[in-house]
């Protein structure tokens, strides 16, 4: 056998690896090493600039798991998953099926307009919505007052009940366009014959949607889930520009805790520990979704 490979026509295969090297170096240097360095820092007590770096083992993690602020932030992140991921995927599915099945005049315009929030910088989005939600001169409350719903004209971002849903719904506004475009692309791969056969069998539009469109979009839905859940778990800029975690701690998220620990409280080690745990959570969720997606595609073949 060894002889066969040796005499195989063409040049030796190992050369191909050289082409990977530049990208690999960049990856190692700017992604992998910083991750390792973050994990290493999480075992130290360090302010980020002095020589005074003390190994404290797992103490940061012990503190983290008993920190009610971390529990609260993580819970808020999970609520953000509803607004960043579940609702946008439902809206995306709905809009995509509206736009894809029958020709609509101005299709390209709708697709672009609905996708637009996705391309605006998150900081700009935050500033815009802070103004939209302003209780005195924001358009949302002006509108509510004009149609006589004065009782609903509350101070959205400062309200202990409504601040989190308000910030979350900004996330929905940003993410649904992405889901829609993803699903629109996926729907082009579903053959029309399925729909024809289904309608001959008497399935209505809703049944077709549930039994043909949704299964056909399995891998697109998985991609949408992974990206939007990651966005929900690492949200920082939106909270920073709208509420800074307030009122009280109602919109506090782990990303903001990391920023605060690292840059205002000089606790790099503790910040690194939060970041490491957050990364692990994201990894586990992503693996879980991929597994589910693969299982699904095996079943369908």
């Amino acid at each position: 056998m060894a002889n066969v490979t040796k005499k195989y026509p063409g040049e030796s295969r190992w050369k191909g690896w050289w082409y990977l090297l530049p990208a690999l170096l960049v990856y190692l240097l700017f992604t992998f090493l910083p991750i390792l360095e973050t994990i290493r820092s999480s075992f130290y007590q360090w302010d980020g600039f002095s020589q005074n770096k003390v190994w404290i083992g797992l103490a940061n993690y012990v503190e983290l798991f008993s920190d009610p602020k971390f529990h609260n932030a993580l819970r808020n992140n999970l609520i953000f998953v509803i607004f960043y991921s579940l609702i946008p995927i439902l809206i995306g599915l709905f809009l995509a099926s509206m736009l894809s099945r029958r020709p609509i005049p101005g299709f390209a315009f709708f697709r672009t307009a609905l996708f637009l929030p996705q391309v605006i910088s998150m900081v700009v989005v935050g500033v815009i919505w802070r103004w939209m939600f302003n209780p005195t001169f924001g358009p949302i409350n002006s509108l509510l007052r004009q149609i006589g719903l004065d009782v609903f004209a509350i101070s959205w971002l400062g309200d202990f009940t409504w601040a989190l849903p308000a910030v979350g719904s900004i996330g929905t506004w940003v993410q649904y366009g992405f889901c829609m475009v993803l699903f629109l692309a996926g729907m082009q791969h579903i053959q029309d014959e399925y729909y024809e056969a289904a309608s001959l069998d008497g399935a209505n539009a809703f049944k077709q949607f549930i039994h043909i469109t949704v299964p056909g979009l399995r891998s697109e839905i998985a991609v949408a889930l992974v990206t939007t859940i990651i966005a929900a778990l690492r949200v920082f800029d939106l909270v920073y520009t709208t509420t800074r975690g307030g009122p009280g701690e109602t919109t506090m998220v782990t990303g903001f805790l990391i920023y605060r620990a690292a840059f205002t409280n000089n606790r790099i080690g503790y910040a690194a520990a939060i970041a490491t745990v957050l990364t692990l959570i994201i990894l586990i969720i992503s693996l879980f979704i991929r597994r589910y997606q693969q299982q699904g595609s095996e079943e369908s073949t």
Partner: protein, 444 residues
């Protein structure tokens, strides 16, 4: 041949990458530029607003003119930016020689502890700074050498500007309704009710950003406590508590004002800048904030504003939150320490005082005796207030300096108090928990 090219290009790429990771060259490696004897002083400051920046530019140009061969290389940053980058920059041999360093434990204290700032005691004597600022001002820029104790020990910075928290009021609204500036706290509260009854927002205020709620609370608190208490609390000495009847009372007053509708409608959802813009546009009779707002209220508006200290209870002298602005400090490893100290002295000169005053900002130092500055305006009001509390030894503190997490705790707890989630007693207990934990960690 081909193989060699690939190998060479890879080695080259590696070398570039490795050299990028290598430590920066030490200053001795850098040959002086031929033909110039120019000495460059690298300065980082946070005076980014137009009128502030002009003051620094003028002072820098005059410094260069008075010191031939010296060039000032200035880098301006927004405060948040400066705070996050200056710490690391001060560890570098080519970092800023002079930088503005925020007061308090997380910034100046941490830098002193890391041994990165130069103690200025010898320059204090050399330049007679004792005649420029009081010991109370000096203690705000002082730490013990280990960076642990605030308010005492070595001097590490000098502040060019001063600040006092008080009440801005709309003169037009006051005149039209025949209201006078109140002189006692009782009158002030009566006035609040009167303004509210007239259908005007008494105090323009928004707590969305959080930090200015600390000022609203603490301004009231300062009327109820002694200077010793505020000093002890801020500098973490003599084991005082935050959970006191006075602090509870101050929280209760703040809550009563909120419940009586004395603040802007929907104030929990309004940011600091938005609330100021509403006030500047004539919405609201008063706003409680620092004198730093004065320059902004003197331009681009058809309204006329005045300033007074939150008046004390009848028969008492009240304290006011006040202090000096972010100080200039010198990097310990700088090779131009003498020149840097001269620059610091320049920044707190009578000339600097004059330029700051012209820009509408309170200077931390006395104005020249022959100053012809116009003071029958808003700036004059803030200057009067500052002089009043200085002469009465009634300059209080920003209480959020007290512990490294005090700011975050105060913001969250005040929002809970104003949102009706907690009571004044819950508030003082929660803040005391933070304070007691810090005192305990310090005594270990």
């Amino acid at each position: 041949m081909k193989k060699r090219t690939i190998f060479l290009s890879i080695s080259l790429a590696l070398m570039i990458l490795l050299s990028a990771c290598a430590k920066p060259a030490s200053p001795t490696d850098q040959a002086p530029v031929a033909g110039t004897e120019e000495e460059v002083l690298l300065v980082w400051d946070q005076f980014y607003r137009d009128e502030e920046s002009k003051v620094i530019e003028t002072l820098n140009a005059e410094f260069e003119a008075a010191h031939p061969g010296v060039r000032i290389q200035r880098e301006v940053k927004v405060l948040d930016d400066l705070r996050t980058t200056v710490k690391l920059a001060l560890t570098k041999p080519d970092g800023p020689d002079v930088a503005q360093v925020n007061q308090g434990r997380n910034d100046m204290g941490a830098l002193v502890e890391a041994g990165l700032l130069l103690p200025l005691n010898s320059y204090l004597n050399q330049y007679n700074w004792g005649t420029v600022f009081s010991t109370s001002v000096a203690s705000r820029n002082s730490f013990t050498e280990d960076g642990k104790t605030f308010g005492t020990g070595n001097l590490y910075g000098v502040s060019p500007t001063a600040e006092v928290v008080g009440v801005f009021y709309n003169k037009g609204i006051f005149n039209k309704n025949g209201w006078d500036v109140p002189t006692t706290f009782e009158d002030f509260e009566a006035l609040l009710a009167e303004i509210k009854a007239a259908g005007i927002t008494p105090i323009s205020f928004g707590s969305l950003d959080g930090w200015n709620a600390i000022h609203e609370f603490s301004a009231i608190q300062h009327l109820l406590v002694s200077l010793d208490y505020i000093n002890n609390l801020t500098y973490g000495v003599n084991n005082v508590s935050f959970d006191t009847p006075e602090n509870r009372q101050a929280a209760q007053i703040l809550l009563d004002w909120a419940n009586a509708g004395y603040f802007s409608d929907g104030f929990p959802g309004i940011g600091y800048d938005d609330s100021n813009n509403l006030f500047k546009a004539g919405n609201g009779a008063m706003t409680i904030t620092g004198s730093w707002l004065a320059p902004e209220l003197m331009v681009d508006t058809d309204q006329e504003f005045g300033f007074f200290l939150l008046p004390p209870y009848e028969g008492q002298t009240g304290l006011a939150i006040g202090g000096v602005g972010i100080p200039f400090a010198i990097r310990k490893t700088s090779e131009k320490q003498e020149l840097a100290a001269e620059y610091l002295n320049w920044m707190i000169s009578p000339r600097a005082a004059e330029l700051w005053a012209e820009a509408g900002m309170l200077p931390a130092m006395a104005l020249p005796e022959d100053s012809k500055l116009e003071t029958k305006n808003l700036f004059g009001d803030t200057l009067n207030a500052w002089n009043t509390i200085n002469q009465a030894n009634a300059v209080g503190h920003y209480i959020d300096w007290a512990t490294p997490t005090f700011y975050d705790t105060l913001v969250a707890e005040l929002q809970k108090l104003l949102g009706g989630i907690s009571t004044p007693a819950n508030f003082t207990e929660a803040v005391e928990a933070d304070y007691a934990a810090y005192l305990q960690s310090q005594s270990k």
